[in-house]
Amino acid sequence: MLHIYCPHCCEYREEEEFHVKGQAHLARPLDPDACSDKEWGEYLYFRKNPRGLHHELWVHAAGCRKFFNVTRDTVSYEIKEVYLVGEKPSVVAHSGSAK
């Protein structure tokens, strides 16, 4: 069970207080109506499934109800960083490496 630092509460809390909402940084297209079906389909359905660093959106559902981002290693389950929505991660995978 993960131990997650909520950047809003500024505390480590148990995983059961949180919901994971999938891949982070999926911006809704500013003009959806201008998107082709293919573009809209990519936004709706296509997600990364990396082995290694993954940026995820979480919500402190049974706590402050705030959303935030988590960079997690999908192999070791280490949480490398938490950061606010709208911020960029400082820990990122090296391009071209599998992990």
Binding site: M1, H3, W40, V59
Partner: protein, 1005 residues
């Protein structure tokens, strides 16, 4: 019966406190301090079970958690039955009742044993897969037979009378194992002032020190153990947990500890005590001091009762005062097992020989053996054992220098006990639970914990140092390291002096060869619990199972409650040899929680019965109960389903409730509807983005129905939202969808449109909601309010603030029945008062309470949908014929707009929601029935959609249904056929789903 194997003196048992216990229906005696296993051995019980596959008689092999055979059924009553208890871990108490798990009809006379003997060669690995797979229809029959024959223990048929606890713990350092390493680590961290938890699976601390005659500081080791334990017990931030197995090591240093509080006292926990406690620990640092298990050697017929692990024999003698036999032969690859022969001899029984696989062992132990006059047979191994229910003799042969082949003649010796040692395996299970892969160490001849991302340290035998001095030093060092990481002092504790001896190098050997090749030799067991033999592993490798994970699954090596504690390393070594690889190349399988079995009781704790899941009640629940309501679960809510009167069938109740509502007035407790309070200057804009329809012009005092879609354009919730003030709205959601909708709104606000000033708050529980519906509902409301509720002043889809029955209320003129309706919302704690007042005044209007079932019928008569029943995530508003609820003109591209414009969403022939009227008006179609256009089409018929809602309508005098039909909105008047499971084919005509009052006049009066 006498305890024929009990010594007169010695051991950590209390001879002045005899205890009686039952095994397989017979009475025996043991002493306080015994385990069930030591008491059984004291009484000379040889056969304690039958093996899983071959049904061979089995005896006790080990003295701890690694015991593979003595897995017992415990319990004096049906309700207190516990399967899968290791006799070696169960402390004896007065009146303990135990039985063998395996063996049918009994362990001493086992029918399946004949199958095992005759069918030995006929039961290779994969036997069950190969034999019982076909025909598939027979599998259930086979499985019952196999399970009964194999005997996997039985669960109680009655409710567990005991209670269990779960506790969340936090600590600086969790020390796992209270042997010399663990005690030194805990003492160091404890003296530094750290919050320490020290857990050990045994009844007392000391670990390996309990079963030896080793001294510390020149005194018996128990003295040092007692001193350290006493000091730790006096520290306020140190928690000592004996009888507590750390069973799981999960991510981010979360560990579970299974503590047995009363299992050593009685069958059932004393009143007021929890039988077991599950500690859920978040530890800043973990020190694993889990020790090592001695490996038995693999040789012919090595499962005959009397074949044991050398150190276990010493433990029984030294700790329990039990010598489990008369004539001992020791076989060893190392110096350690010599001590077992000395312990045995000192106990006054005969050591027949020490068989050492090394060609030329030297040193103190060899000298001691010679001094004691014990016959030493060098460069040899026991290749076979005689006997069936007890060892009667051994066959010994000289081995080649590397131990791979027999190269001498065979000698036979008489003996009843064989103690073997093939070296030690560090107990690395916990270290691997979070994904760290173990690393082979040539010097240790075993796997050590690999690198980890967890904040974990190891000390003692788990780290490959099998000496007491090493364990103490490493434990203290681990304690200091943890303290340093925590920024604490790093005290240096005084370590006791130990007796160390220089050991002659051990030989790496797992499998003793036979004169015949393995496949033809007597069975050489690797994994006793799963009946896996050396020949079986070789066969699996020959059949192409090369990956150790595949070998495991094919042979069952390391399966079950055993988890490969004794057999894994030998099994891997045999697989490595068979595939021409090294052990590290072969690798290990993955250890998973739990280390030893955990009761469901401990996992469940108090979360059972009434406390299993929270139940939510409305403020009027008491009234519903008193008035005979039957309840339906909606999420966690208990909602009245219907209110039967004496003698009524369900249908009669529904007919009465439906008619009373349409003819006069009915009342529904609608408090469970989700309610979200929305405020902020951009609240209106936000609503326009999440709902499909327009909100820009909704005036204060007005209500509007809205559909909510996902980005894919599919409906997922609906409800009425009302404008309370220019920047203030109250949204209602479906009862089950409230939490999801709330999170959805927050998701979009926080991640997409944080620039909008809008705030959400869930207020579902703040309000009691009661809907009065029917032509007399206004009259009833007027009796309880002074406000003007006439149609002129309080129109349809308006809301007003007023006093109802003397308390402040928000009343909404909205309708889910198609009748004149008022939804009265009051502060939740006024709910029951208002509800009762309504009934007081409502008697003359025959005010009738109705539940969810009548609500469903009344809304279906009007063609109103229920999100989640008439929709299933594949239906957009146009499919529902609700295009009127979509505003394509809104400037912002609302959620769902782009999705419902996708090619697939605008094509012809989509499944669309329509009404369905059965040709025979008395037939009520089952919900879920699949429709076809041509009932004579060959099977499989093309299916065109299913029934989503279907009821008997008493008001209309015929059945009504709604369903999805391909192209349904363009097929009005056409027939659809519903072939049912019972063979009937029901014909229905596609119609408008609005069966009653299509113009909507009834609600507008």
């Amino acid at each position: 019966m006498t305890q024929k194997n009990r010594l007169q003196t010695g051991g950590r048992i209390n001879r002045s406190k005899p205890l009686s216990f039952v095994y397989n229906g017979k009475q025996f005696k043991g002493f306080e301090g015994d385990t069930l296993a030591s008491a059984m051995l004291a009484n000379g019980i040889d056969v304690i079970g039958r093996s899983f596959k071959y049904s061979r008689p089995r005896g006790i092999v080990a003295a701890g958690a690694e015991e593979p055979n003595a897995v017992m059924q415990l319990g004096a009553t049906e309700a207190t039955q516990v399967p899968n208890v290791r006799a070696t871990q169960q402390e004896l108490f007065e009146g303990l009742v135990s039985g063998a798990t395996n063996g049918w009809p009994s362990v001493d006379n086992d029918l399946m044993g004949i199958v095992g003997k005759v069918g030995g060669k006929m039961m290779p690995p994969g036997f069950y897969y190969k034999t019982f797979m076909y025909p598939q229809s027979m599998w259930e029959t086979y499985e019952k037979f196999i399970r009964k024959a194999a005997g996997l223990g039985s669960s109680p048929l009655e409710n567990d009378p005991d209670s269990y606890e779960k506790i969340n713990q936090h600590c600086d350092v969790l020390v796992v194992g209270a042997g010399p390493a663990g005690l030194a680590a805990a003492l160091t961290a404890g003296r530094a002032g750290a919050r320490v938890i020290l857990a050990d699976e045994q009844s007392e601390f000391g670990g390996s020190l309990l079963g030896t005659r080793e001294t510390l500081n020149g005194e018996e080791a128990a003295r040092w153990v007692a001193d350290v334990t006493a000091e730790l017990a006096g520290m306020k931030d140190v928690m000592l947990l004996p009888r507590s197995t750390v069973n799981g090591y999960h991510d981010h240093n979360f560990l579970t500890i299974h503590q047995r509080n009363t299992d050593h006292i009685a069958d059932k926990a004393p009143a007021g005590q929890a039988r077991q406690t599950l500690h859920r620990v978040r530890a800043k640092w973990v020190v694993l001091a889990t020790g090592a298990h001695e490996r038995p050697l693999v040789y012919g017929n090595n499962d005959v009762p009397g074949c044991m692990i050398a150190s276990a024999v010493s433990t029984y003698i030294n700790r329990y005062g039990v010598v489990p036999g008369n004539e001992l032969v020791v076989m060893t690859t190392n110096d350690g097992a010599y001590q077992t022969a000395f312990d045995w001899q000192d106990a006054g029984r005969k050591v027949v020989a020490i068989v050492d696989t090394r060609q030329n062992p030297q040193g103190a132990q060899v000298a001691e053996a010679s001094k004691r006059g014990i016959q030493l047979i060098k460069g040899s191994g026991i290749i076979d054992v005689a006997g069936s229910k007890r060892v009667t003799g051994v066959s010994i042969a000289a081995l080649s220098a590397d131990g791979s082949a027999v190269n001498g003649s065979v000698t036979k010796l008489s003996a009843d006990t064989v103690a073997t040692s093939g070296g030690w395996s560090p107990v690395i299970h916990l270290a691997g639970h979070t994904g760290s892969r173990p690393v082979w160490d040539e010097k240790v001849a075993g796997f050590l914990p690999g690198p980890t991302v967890e904040k974990r340290l190891i000390a003692g035998a788990i780290a490959g140092d099998f000496t007491t001095a090493g364990a103490l030093a490493q434990g203290a060092e681990a304690g200091r390291k943890a303290c340093a990481e925590l920024g604490m002092d790093q005290p240096i504790i005084e370590l006791p002096t130990t007796q160390e001896r220089v050991e002659h190098p051990a030989m790496t050997l797992f499998h003793i060869p036979h004169v015949k090749k393995t496949s033809e030799a007597p069975k050489q067991f690797v994994d006793y619990q799963n009946d896996v033999t050396a020949a079986g592993i070789e066969l699996a490798c020959r059949e192409g199972f090369e990956s150790i994970e595949h070998v495991k699954r094919y042979t069952a090596l390391g399966f079950g409650t055993d988890q490969g504690k004794l057999g894994n390393i030998a099994g891997m070594a045999i697989a490595a040899k068979a595939t021409g690889r090294t052990i590290p190349e072969t690798g290990t399988t993955i250890f998973r929680p739990n280390y030893t079995p955990v009761t469901f009781g401990a996992l469940v704790g108090r979360d059972r019965g009434e406390l299993f899941d929270p139940k939510r009640y409305t403020a009027m629940h008491k009234w519903h109960v008193e008035n005979g309501a039957l309840f339906e679960d909606v999420g966690q809510w208990k909602r009245p389903w219907y209110f039967p009167k004496a003698g009524e069938t369900m249908q009669q109740s529904l007919d009465r409730e439906c008619k009373a509502t349409r003819e006069s007035v009915g009342i529904l407790d609608a408090s469970t509807l989700g309610k979200i309070d929305i405020q902020g200057k951009d609240a209106r804009e936000f609503l326009g983005r999440v709902y499909t329809n327009a909100w820009a012009k909704l005036a204060v005092g007005k209500c509007r129905y809205g559909l909510m879609c996902g980005e894919d354009g599919m409906v997922f919730d609906d409800g009425v939202t009302s404008c309370l003030g220019e920047n203030h709205f109250i949204m209602t959601t479906t009862s089950g969808g409230a939490a999801r909708v709330y999170e959805w709104l927050e998701l979009y606000h926080q991640t997409e449109w944080p620039e909008l000033e809008v705030y959400f708050n869930t207020v579902t529980d703040h309000w009691s909601t009661m809907t009065i519906s029917g032509p007399n509902s206004r009259k009833l409301l007027e009796e309880l309010t002074d406000a003007d509720v006439s149609n002129e002043n309080f129109g349809y889809m308006d809301w007003r603030e007023m006093k109802v029955a003397g308390v402040p209320a928000r009343v909404f003129r909205i309708s889910f029945t198609g009748e004149l309706s008022f939804e009265i919302n009051v502060q939740a704690n006024f709910g029951l008062h208002v509800w009762e007042k309504l009934f007081e005044k409502g008697a003359k209007y025959n005010l009738t309470p109705y539940g969810t079932e009548t609500m469903h019928i009344l809304r279906a008569e009007k063609g109103f949908i229920i999100a989640g029943q008439d929709t299933d995530g594949s239906v957009h508003p146009y499919d529902l014929g609700m295009g009127w609820a979509v505003s394509q003109q809104k400037p912002f591209s609302f959620i769902g707009k782009r999705g419902m414009a996708r090619e697939d969403c605008v094509r012809d022939n989509r499944k669309q929601l329509v009404g369905l009227k059965t040709t025979d008006p008395s037939v009520v179609l089952p919900e879920g029935a699949q429709g076809v256009f041509d009932p004579k089409a060959p099977i499989p018929m093309p299916m065109v959609g299913h029934i989503t809602s279907s009821y008997w309508s008493a008001n209309l005098g015929h059945s009504i249904a709604m369903g999805l039909v391909k192209g349904g909105l363009d097929r009005m008047g056409e027939k659809v056929y519903y072939p049912l499971a019972d063979g009937r084919v029901v014909e229905a005509e596609i119609c408008s789903p609005i069966f009653l009052d299509p113009k909507g006049e009834r609600q507008n009066v």
